[in-house]
Symmetry: C2
Subunit: 143 residues, 2 copies
DNA sequence: GTATAATCATTGACTAATCAAGTATATGTC
DNA sequence: GACATATACTTGATTAGTCAATGATTATAC
């Protein structure tokens, strides 16, 4: 009884680490946006035409369809992202990265990189490569 | 510009994976409790005397002091944990695992183990060991 | 021993998400 | 071409936490 296997221990550690990390990021109050917001700007910036379907953004960030609606609302309000419809499919609405959003992302990424490096010490670069691989395996490639 | 380093990529992947994993666990509606609740019962069960200070529980789970207050409230209400004061230090209040809490934990751990194993395929046990090590390094030992 | 600082826990106000249900549109089947 | 099913997105109600402030107690410094 109460025999917790290694997989479950890993997932509990994952939960703990993520909780600590996201709190540290949100505490930065990185240019007024949170970590999830930052990820969204990142995905948009990476994408062709700086534009993605809302559902694809949600999938990439690991949140739900309703989650993306709720998350984008304030970003739209402050003008970091815009909205565009699809002529072929009226169900779809694209999210586009505005110039302001792009600029904020470029500024914020410096701060974010620095904190990430502080958290994941660069000492053990080999291990980091492995960690990256494993998380990618679990979550699908994020790039 | 927009040069995201490996550390930050790792943290974004971490966020995504954790989001997906916790949603899967919560969706189980594991005997009426969520994943954080499960972790708390686990820590209590592990501890000497099935009893811990609230602040230590919070630290171990990676949440804040107010978070533990809020999380424990419903668990107390349904009788999975109880409360005890410390004669020597009136600031402290201990959380104790009740018999009901112990029983529920024992039942839930089967379900949780199974899902964890499903998520983290046992195929690559060596990698899992590494992942465990790395997360432990990042979050402090969870055992 | 008194003042100051630190620790433990809680509360009010808030945010970031969830799910379940609903709306609108598109696609496949017959 | 009508009907059933699937997809994209939004909304209402709810939950799980956060932070900042506060209360209560204990420890430290002088």
């Amino acid at each position: 009884m109460s025999a917790i296997n290694e997989s479950l221990t890993i997932l509990m550690n994952l939960a703990k680490v993520q909780s600590i990390v996201s709190r540290r990021f949100d505490r930065l109050n990185m240019h007024g946006i949170g970590f999830t917001d930052f990820m969204i700007l990142y995905f948009l910036n990476q994408s062709a035409g700086q534009s993605m379907r809302r559902i694809d953004l949600a999938e990439k960030a690991g949140i739900t369809a309703s989650g993306i609606t709720r998350t984008l609302l304030p970003l739209e309000k402050i003008g970091l992202v815009g909205r565009e419809t699809n002529g072929r499919d009226a169900r779809v609405s694209y999210v586009i990265l505005t110039e302001a959003g792009k600029q904020l992302f470029n500024n914020a990424s410096g701060t974010a990189n620095a904190l990430a490096t502080e958290i994941i010490s660069a000492e053990n670069a080999a291990n980091n490569g492995m960690l990256f691989e494993l998380l990618t395996q679990l979550g699908g490639n994020i790039n």
